[in-house]
């Protein structure tokens, strides 16, 4: 026992004459690479946990709204997926005004992708001309614009506008079909959600289209 201890004490921990062994480098690199892959793979659950939970996804269920009581010129707000959805019945005069605005609008025919379903690619951006359904969230940075349905003067909007939706956050404004005017911060028309209207026109289901898909 004593003999062994003495021998170890006299020996340096690392032999100074140890020759370099290149094959070890390969293994160090391989171990680092494999460890790195494992590290990245471990990040997946953490990054993934940031996505909406099942509960949040389930809260995206369709909403049924009775629209028979909405008078011409009136707007009602309902909540769908936590967002305000506007249902507004436009008067004949307001519909007539929509036709005169094209030259002032950024995207009068709703050609830009993503915000207008095919069924709403028309002048009034709705299934039936009078009833307008849109998500009341500005396409700029997500504020909820204020409905200014009467053509009253609003600071920051040209005095000749015919009424619509004005976003107080950054001054974007939209016409009564949710079409954005030129040269305001918002790039897109207001989003039209998928919705269907019952056969008698009295009910709207927000959140499904004619194929029953959200």
């Amino acid at each position: 026992m004593t003999e062994l201890t003495t021998r170890l004490d006299n020996q340096p921990a690392i032999d100074p004459d140890l020759p370099p062994d290149p094959s070890r480098r390969t293994w160090v690199a391989t171990a680092c690479a494999v460890g790195g892959v494992a590290g990245v793979a471990t990040a997946v659950p953490f990054v993934g946990s940031f996505a909406p939970s099942e509960k949040a996804r389930a809260a995206g269920a369709p909403v049924e709204v009775d629209v028979s009581g909405i008078a011409p010129g009136e707007l009602r707000t309902v909540e769908w997926r936590g967002k305000p959805v506007w249902l507004m019945r436009r008067t004949a005069a307001q519909l007539a005004d929509l036709k005169t605005l094209d030259s002032k609008l950024a995207d009068p025919d709703s050609d830009r992708p993503g915000y207008t379903p095919d069924f709403a690619k028309n002048e009034h951006r709705s299934r039936t001309p009078d009833l307008f359904v849109a998500i009341g969230i500005c396409t700029h940075l997500g504020c909820s614009p204020t409905p200014e349905l009467a053509p009253t003067p609003v600071p920051g909007v040209p005095s000749d506008w015919k009424g619509g939706y004005f976003c107080p956050c950054h001054g974007s404004y939209f016409d009564l079909a949710g079409r954005v005017y030129k040269n305001v911060p918002a790039p897109d028309n207001l989003e039209v959600p998928p919705y269907v209207i019952s056969d008698d026109g009295g009910k709207v289901i927000v959140g499904i289209d004619e194929n029953d898909k959200a």
């Binding site: 909406p52 995206g60 936590g82 700029h140 997500g142 614009p145 204020t146 600071p155």
Partner: protein, 463 residues
């Protein structure tokens, strides 16, 4: 005993020093850290920033003991702290005042660096760590502002998170991923809480340590912007123009702390909302996801950058695109870089100019806002003046600094105001001035007649 160090200290301190370099650290960073002897008023703000950091951490810990990060309970738990928790109002107002004062102190601290060229070689990393601290601080303030769950908390977060949706292709999905929901919701509140109370503070503390280590490695700059280590030294090799940080500046800083705490206490006790600038009035209304307040604006310390975001409309991107083309031509015609580099930079600028008119202005607004902060990282290389300190620069340089400061303040004011055409035009002019100040700095900072720099610090002893 084997393995024990021999140290000068005895008793308890000696026992510690044999196991932990306490005395060594104290000497390195306090009693034998030699700083230039001519520090002035502007040098208070570094230690004040550290003080506010401590205030925020301590008050924050006590707030968390009563706050509930839950969309149903958050607003009421803050009111509970304000009305029913003993001294709750005191701790909460100290935290909210501290948030704003943090930015006051940090902005002045950065301005000091700008004046005296404290970011120049060899202090580039001190500055870069500092700008990283500023970024972390902005994140910390933004995450914290959601927690009271008032109208301004909610819609402010909605707007800022939606900034990310402006990024082409991945934007909208990215915004949902950040929120954890289709709108700002309970999930968002919970994760922002986690960021505010642990993630960002940890990063912040690490960066502060790095900032100080880098500073103590290269030594402090001074109002004359000259290197005291290159001047005459005493027998021990200490620069003649230096004094030890402790006790000279530790005591000096106590004067600054006293003055600062008087102002701090005055705000806290008499005007904690600061007329709606420190706590906005709309934030006393609980968050309502269906109704945006008629006027929303971020807290004052974000408003200069927010103004730049709003200024970037479709028309304004013509100016940005035009500016890029002019810059591309300028770099091609002249510049100290090799020809290949100049060509590459020019091509990148022209491509950027084309993209400015093909991608939405919304995206470029975000780029301008982010760029206005990120550009600070490059300041050590943008500034090409032969002297560091503003004291020895041409008179008209001081005039440019004055314009820059006024522009920053005006942009800050405009950001608090509702949008209108005159203000939008003003903020566009302000954005151009802000960007030109930095982007044209490699050109203008070389020009003019510089005054001779002294060999020793200018210092007048107190009588």
């Amino acid at each position: 005993m084997a393995g024990e160090k021999t140290v000068d200290t005895t008793g308890l301190l000696g026992w510690i020093d044999r196991r932990f370099p306490l005395t060594v650290l104290f000497r390195q960073h306090m009693s034998e850290y030699y700083a230039p002897k001519n520090f002035n008023f502007w040098y208070f703000f570094g230690s004040l920033a550290l003080l506010v950091l401590v205030i925020q951490i301590v008050t924050g810990i006590f707030l968390v003991m009563n706050y509930k990060p839950d969309a149903e309970l958050a607003f009421n738990s803050v009111e509970y702290i304000m009305r029913e928790v003993p001294w709750g109002w005191f701790i909460r107002y100290m935290h909210s005042t501290g948030a704003s004062m943090f930015f006051v102190v940090v902005y002045l601290h950065m301005l000091r660096g700008l004046f005296y060229g404290s970011y120049r070689k060899p202090r580039e990393l001190v500055w870069i760590f500092g700008v990283a601290i500023f970024l972390a601080l902005m994140g910390e303030a933004f995450f914290g502002y959601l927690l009271p769950w008032g109208q301004m908390s909610y819609w402010g977060a909605q707007v800022i998170v939606n900034l990310f949706s402006a990024i082409p292709f991945i934007g909208p999905e990215l915004a949902i991923w950040i929120r954890g929901d289709y709108v700002v919701s309970d999930a968002t509140l919970n994760r922002f809480f986690a960021f505010h109370v642990i993630a960002i503070p940890l990063v912040l503390l690490g960066l502060v340590v790095a900032h100080l280590i880098a500073l103590h490695e290269v030594g402090s700059n001074n109002p004359d912007g000259i290197e005291i280590k290159e001047g005459p030294k005493d027998a021990r090799g200490v620069p003649l123009d230096a004094i030890p940080f402790h006790p000279y500046y530790s005591v000096h800083d106590i004067v600054g702390v006293a003055g600062f705490l008087i102002i701090f206490a005055f705000i806290m006790f008499f005007t904690p909302e600061m007329g709606g600038f420190f706590i906005e009035y709309n934030n006393f209304i609980p968050a309502d996801p269906l109704k945006t307040p008629s006027h929303i604006a971020p807290v004052w310390y974000f408003t200069p950058f927010y103004s730049m975001l709003r200024a970037t409309t479709a028309d304004f991107t013509w100016i940005l695109a035009g500016g890029s083309i002019v810059a591309a031509l300028g770099i091609l015609a002249k510049g100290g870089l090799p020809a290949l580099w100049r060509l590459l930079i020019a091509i990148v600028l022209v491509v950027a100019a084309v993209l400015m008119k093909t991608i939405d202005a919304k995206f470029w607004g975000v780029v301008v806002m982010g760029g206005a902060v990120v550009i600070l990282f490059f300041l050590p290389w943008l500034d090409q003046s032969p002297v560091k300190s503003i004291r020895y620069r041409p008179g008209w340089h001081k005039f440019l600094y004055a314009i820059f400061i006024v522009t920053f303040l005006v942009l800050g004011y405009l950001g608090t105001q509702p949008p209108n055409p005159t203000f939008n035009l003003l903020s566009q002019v302000g954005t151009v001035i802000y960007l030109l100040f930095f982007l044209a700095m490699p050109v203008w900072s070389r020009l003019g007649r510089f005054k001779p720099v002294p060999e020793r610090l200018t210092f007048r002893a107190h009588k």
